[in-house]
Assembly symmetry: C3
Homo-oligomer: 215 residues x 3
């Protein structure tokens, strides 16, 4: 049996990673749509319903992520480096976890007023997740280095915006006469939202490094 | 010299990883026994003594973990993937660090009353660590995939319980008339306890992925 | 073409990693000089200027770190294990990020009084970064295992000092009659400073493991 035949045997199983990562990217996209819709919803009970609906998606995403790790264990041959699959799956799963974590804080801490900082983060996360979708879909053909570089540059810019927004939020909290308990709650929320943008950047960086290696 | 002889030469050095990981698992087990005993101890000074005794175990564990990394550097051949050894050693070491970190907070912050949230976490951590012991011991024979899968599923359930307990704890802190300073202290403790359960899950996931590859 | 020729072809590209890591180490050294100078500056506006100047260095460092990852993607042959390059670049970049993050907090939170805890951390970070410079420079010749072990042991001691300083700082915050808002600010700063020392330890550990493998 020649090398060609061996490659053919492995390729179909190998392709499973693209589909799984695309499924994760779609889940994240749906979550970020729900999240931005929620923070713009004026009606508190409707907003809480929207925020709660993120849990189901986060759970779905856990299952797909687990499948990626199982396939990684099973497959000797992978379409790109094993550690890149590991890093990418972890970063994308963290995005889902921390998006739901942010929603949960808004619910559990009874945050009835949504401030402009939170809305700003929802927009940044939404845009970053859409870019990551493009990036993940580029993995399958591994050709368009320019498109992926653009995704990466833009996600990095969004992450910088997130940093600035966190700084702005914290300065507002400390310069105003807000109750300490409210500061604790909001600081916790802002930091988790900023963490979502960090993980978007991590994911974009892994995608870029995969493309650099194989393009 | 045939391949068989080469394998024989390497095997004895190779086996050192099993013993070291088992030593770590035993340390963690002892720490979790002390921790649960401490949080159930009514007498404050006796409790503080028990909590303080965790430091020595954490220190012992640092030394064993360092040995694992030294062996990893020295050995070209390892019983399972190098990065899995790295991830597993790191996750188990984090469990020891954060368990001691939690104990230290209870001592340093003069937490004389132990609440039900803390007791709940001590129980979850205790159970997860015992399961990890089973998982680590399974690595040596690499056969019982079902037993390891059960360990992993159960540690994951315990981590979910930990998430819910943190949510419950935070909601209680914010809904009651607790002083801000007390909220800051307890939030810090709860988050570190929850981090211990996260690291138990990380360790279980690495063990599962090792067994999937080799079973 | 013999193996010797192949090695020669690859070596020049391969060497780029040493230069890039040395550049990062020099950046960190400059940052830690500025940081210690800032916390010792009595004049608030001069101090803020010094703290602000860290941002430029952090930005410079991001660019060098990005170059390391690009080279890692491009080069099939690396002077030491790919994952070690990844870990080391990440840990060193985190040092720059969190040093600037600490400076930014001092600016944004209007911390006009610098306490002894903060000065203590600046000194620990400064010393650890100078040791890391020695360690990074040793990578190029990969011979002096003793020198690197000493670096690693000393950085580990400094990280332990950092832990103790954080504990001391937190106990002081909670035992005094400081306003909750001030506690929140200082806790945030101390924890980030302690994170810098953690990342110094991570970097030292990677350097040690590289030297163990190749010395």
């Amino acid at each position: 049996m020649g090398l060609g035949s061996i490659v053919k045997i492995f390729m179909p199983k190998d392709k499973v990673f693209y589909s799984l990562f695309e499924e994760v990217a779609t889940n994240l996209s749906n979550m970020s749509d729900l999240f931005i819709k929620a923070v713009k919803e004026e009606d508190v009970s409707k907003r809480v319903e929207l925020l709660k609906s993120l849990e189901e998606w986060e759970h779905k995403n856990d299952i797909v992520t687990h499948k990626i790790f199982v396939e990684l264990g099973r497959n000797f041959i992978t379409p790109f480096d094993r550690e890149d699959i590991h890093y990418l799956a972890t970063a994308l799963d963290d995005i889902a976890d921390f998006m739901w974590g942010s929603a949960k804080r808004m619910i559990n801490y009874n945050m009835s007023e949504i401030d402009t900082i939170t809305v700003g983060f929802a927009r940044i996360i939404h845009d970053a997740v859409k870019l990551l979708n493009t990036g993940v879909n580029e993995l399958r053909n591994m050709r368009d280095l320019r498109a992926v570089t653009e995704v990466c540059v833009n996600v990095n810019s969004l992450e910088n915006e997130g940093d600035d927004l966190l700084d702005k939020g914290m300065m507002e909290l400390f310069s105003s006469k807000i109750e300490p308990v409210e500061i604790i709650k909001k600081k916790d929320l802002y930091q988790m939202l900023e963490l979502v943008t960090d993980k978007c950047e991590d994911a974009a960086n892994v995608i870029e490094s995969i493309i650099i290696k194989y393009a």
